[in-house]
Symmetry: C2
Subunit: 204 residues, 2 copies
DNA sequence: AATATTGGGCACCGCCACTATCCAATCAGG
DNA sequence: CCTGATTGGATAGTGGCGGTGCCCAATATT
C-alpha cells in the first residue's frame, strides 16, 4: 500500500505520517521508485502503536522514539527493555537532586531492590517533595499503603510477561508499562468517586 | 512583603509570579499604592501549591486555574470538590466517544457506583481502546487486579479526608488527588523494577 | 533631589506537534 | 505517447503553551 492508504486505514493525516517517518517513529517503506514506497501491515500496526503512545500514553515524540528504539533493538533483554522504558519516560530533570531518604525508606520497608540511580526513585522523591511543598506531607502509613498496592500491580505486570519470543516480551513490557498508567489513574479516580459518594453523599 | 521577596522565598522568578497573577492562579496582593502591593504568608503557601500542581502534578495552567477555583469557592462540599478536580484533570476530549461497555463491566464487577458522565470513566474507556489499538488488549483478570489495587487506594484516600474544616478537607482532596498520582506511578515502576530484577536477573 | 525599585502591561521567545506548500519524478488513463 | 493527477521528500510555517524581557510612570529610599 502507499502512504495515502496507510494514512486512510489509521485515520492519521498523510502529513503527520510523513512527520513520524522523519522523526524515526515509523520505519521507512520499501522504495519502489524515486517517488513511490510500499508499506505493509507492520506499518499499520506500528502506526497504531505510535498513536497510542503519543496520545493516551502521554509520551512526547522524543520519548516515544527512545522507547521504540528499545522495542526495535533485536537483542534487548526484558529487564533492559523495562529499564529503557523507565529511563525514557518523562522523569525528573537533573535540576536540584531531591532528597532520596524518604523514598529509600519506603522501598526498604517493602524489601524492594532497585538501581541506586533508578529514575523512578528520583521521581518518587520529587513527588514527595512536591507534597511537602503543597503543605500536605504524606505519612508513612499512607506511603506504605500506596506501596503495597503498587507492589501488587508491579508484581503482576512482571509475572504476566510472556516467555515465548523475546521480541514479543519486550513489546509487551513497553506497551503495558506505558499504557496501563492511564488505566491505573482512571481506576483510582473511579474508586475515589465511588468511595466519596458513599462517605459524603450517602450514595448520592 | 513585596513581589520580589515573594519570588525570592519561593524560588520563582518575578516575571513568572506576575504571570501567575495575570492567569488568576495567585490572588492579587493588597495594594498599598499605585506601584506597591503587599503579599503575605498565604501567598507564599499558595505559590508553592501552584508550582507543585504545575510541575510534579503535571497540570496545565488552565487546568490548575479550574482546580484552584474549586479550592477557593467557599461552600464547596467535599464530594463536589473531588468532582471538580476530576473534571478539571486532563481528560479525554469530546472527540470520538469511546466504547464504555468494558469500563462499565469492570466497575460493575466491583460494585462501584459512579456518575454516568464521569470523566474518569471516559478516560478508562479511552485507555482501554489505546491498549487495543496497540495490539495488547488487557484481559478481564488483569483489569480486575488493577481495579482491586486502585480500589484499596481510592478507599483509603477518601477515608483519610479530614472532617474538621470544609476548607481544609477540600484542599486535602485536591492536593491528594493530583499529587499522589506521580507517587503511585513511581511506586509502580519501582515495584516493576524490583520484580523484574528478581524474575529476569536473578537479583542482578 | 537623586537613585533604585516596583507594579503593571505588552511583546516577545523557545519548544513542540503538527501542517501546508513546493518540486521533480512517476504512474494511470486515454 | 501524451497529459494530468499523485507521490515521496524537503522546507517552511502554524498555533498553542509556559514563561520571559522590556518599558513606563509611580513610588520608596538615601
Amino acid at each position: 500500500m502507499q502512504i495515502s492508504e496507510l494514512a486512510r486505514r489509521t485515520g492519521v493525516p498523510v502529513a503527520t505520517v510523513k512527520y513520524y517517518l522523519r522523526e524515526g517513529l515509523l520505519p521507512a517503506g520499501e522504495l519502489t521508485g524515486a517517488t513511490r514506497a510500499r508499506y505493509d501491515e507492520t506499518h499499520v500496526e506500528r502506526l497504531r502503536l505510535v498513536r497510542a503512545l503519543l496520545g493516551p500514553g502521554g509520551l512526547s515524540v522524543a520519548t516515544a522514539r527512545t522507547v521504540l528504539a528499545a522495542v526495535d533493538a533485536p537483542g534487548t533483554a526484558v529487564h533492559e527493555a523495562l529499564g529503557a522504558a523507565h529511563r525514557a519516560l518523562p522523569g525528573v530533570g537533573p535540576g536540584d537532586p531531591p532528597d532520596l531518604d524518604r523514598a529509600h525508606a519506603v522501598l526498604d520497608r517493602r524489601g524492594w531492590r532497585v538501581a541506586a540511580d533508578s529514575p523512578a526513585l528520583r521521581a518518587l522523591a520529587a513527588a514527595l517533595a512536591a507534597l511537602d511543598a503543597a503543605g500536605q506531607p504524606p505519612g508513612d502509613d499512607l506511603l506504605d499503603r500506596y506501596a503495597e498496592a503498587a507492589g501488587r500491580i508491579g508484581e503482576q505486570d512482571v509475572a504476566d510477561v510472556p516467555t515465548g519470543s523475546l521480541q514479543e516480551a519486550v513489546r509487551f513490557v513497553v506497551v503495558h508499562t506505558v499504557l496501563l498508567e492511564p488505566v491505573l489513574l482512571a481506576l483510582r479516580r473511579l474508586a475515589q468517586e465511588d468511595a466519596s459518594g458513599r462517605r459524603f453523599c450517602g450514595g448520592c
